[in-house]
Symmetry: C2
Subunit: 212 residues, 2 copies
């Protein structure tokens, strides 16, 4: 194995270990030792890859954002789109939040210690507003969303609902009930913006037995 490849693997291992640390320990309390000890990596190796703890955290947040943008663009470019696509994004997002330690770390870093990452202050909300807006606009053009619904306001509404559900589920059950909570609020949230036909199509897509 070449030196460059080994170096890349160490960097990946540091990001993975750092994610585990930041997903469970407050940023202020987390130490570089917590990140390197499970890997048997030296302080020197850490500082070769990252200037400090803050820079490691920034890269984890960047990756979290990239994963979320990827998810939304993948669904948007697939046949789906519209309200069914919105549901697909919600459940995909729930899966990431529940199972991916990089996403958990990114969410915790930006929501519990936003003052440490002013670069990202509100950036993820803006990103989500834009992404959800694309689904809603497509749904409105397809007659699934009422024509009197203002897309930007409706996007902020959907994002706020998801942020709230995620926060409550994180605190109450550490995301164990996130799927169930999303299914519950989606149905009520969509009812507020959908046409009758759009709402029927959406609830049909919620059913676990729905054809794909």
């Amino acid at each position: 194995m070449g030196k460059q490849q080994r170096s890349g693997e160490t960097r990946e291992a540091l990001l993975e270990s750092g994610s585990r640390v930041f997903a469970t320990i407050p940023f202020d309390k987390a130490r570089i030792a917590d990140v390197i000890e499970p890997l048997g990596v030296t302080q020197g190796a850490f500082y070769f890859h990252f200037e400090n703890k803050h820079e490691l955290a920034l890269e984890i947040i960047r990756r979290e954002h990239a994963m979320m943008v990827d998810l939304s663009e993948r669904v948007l470019s697939s046949a789906g789109g519209g309200l069914a696509g919105l549901h697909e994004v919600s459940t995909g997002l729930a899966e990431l939040v529940r199972a991916d330690v990089t996403v958990q770390a990114g969410l915790r870093l930006t929501s519990h210690t936003p003052e440490e990452f002013p670069e990202f202050l509100g950036a993820s909300f803006t990103m989500w507003n834009d992404a959800i807006g694309k689904f809603l606009l497509r749904a409105q053009r397809a007659g699934e969303v009422r024509s009197d619904v203002e897309i930007e306001a409706a996007s902020r509404f959907v994002v706020a609902t998801f942020v709230g559900v995620q926060e409550i589920s994180a605190i109450a059950t550490r995301w164990a009930d996130l799927d169930e909570r999303i299914r519950e609020v989606s149905s009520l949230a969509i009812r507020g913006i959908a046409t009758d036909e759009g709402y029927e199509a959406f609830t049909a897509s919620l059913s676990p037995t729905a054809a794909r």
Copy 2:
């Protein structure tokens, strides 16, 4: 002024100063010195009233909860109730969040460092689900909420939406736009659960010029 009265005033001053500290500094980083220095109070005086920083924080969280329960019960027992009452509670809550340092401290302590306060894990969500449920049940009996709406699910939906809006507004504008954001999402959220008559009555009550 009697000794007991002075002691009570010191305790209140410590709670007020502690709220200012916990509203702005992460719990881990906040020091008792930060609480007592602005008051010119001694460490000894602090420990006469509170066992430690954690006990001070607990009392602040308890007060935050009590203020919120008071608000909801006051509106519920007033003529209002129903969907207009729900809006009154939302705006009252927004006012507390924006202007009251005890509420700001309680929210930050329980949402940023929930692991430090397991006594309150999820307790505020349960309290809010119950409180909002009372408004929605009254609204349903008055024909403002559709009869097929399940009250507990709808309560969790309304609470999740408010939690999300509060969190986004806190991070993006430190609550400066909270009123506007609540007005925007309330209208969409209520549309998802209200009858046509209920929604009309609700939007009429949203208007700043609405008769009280």
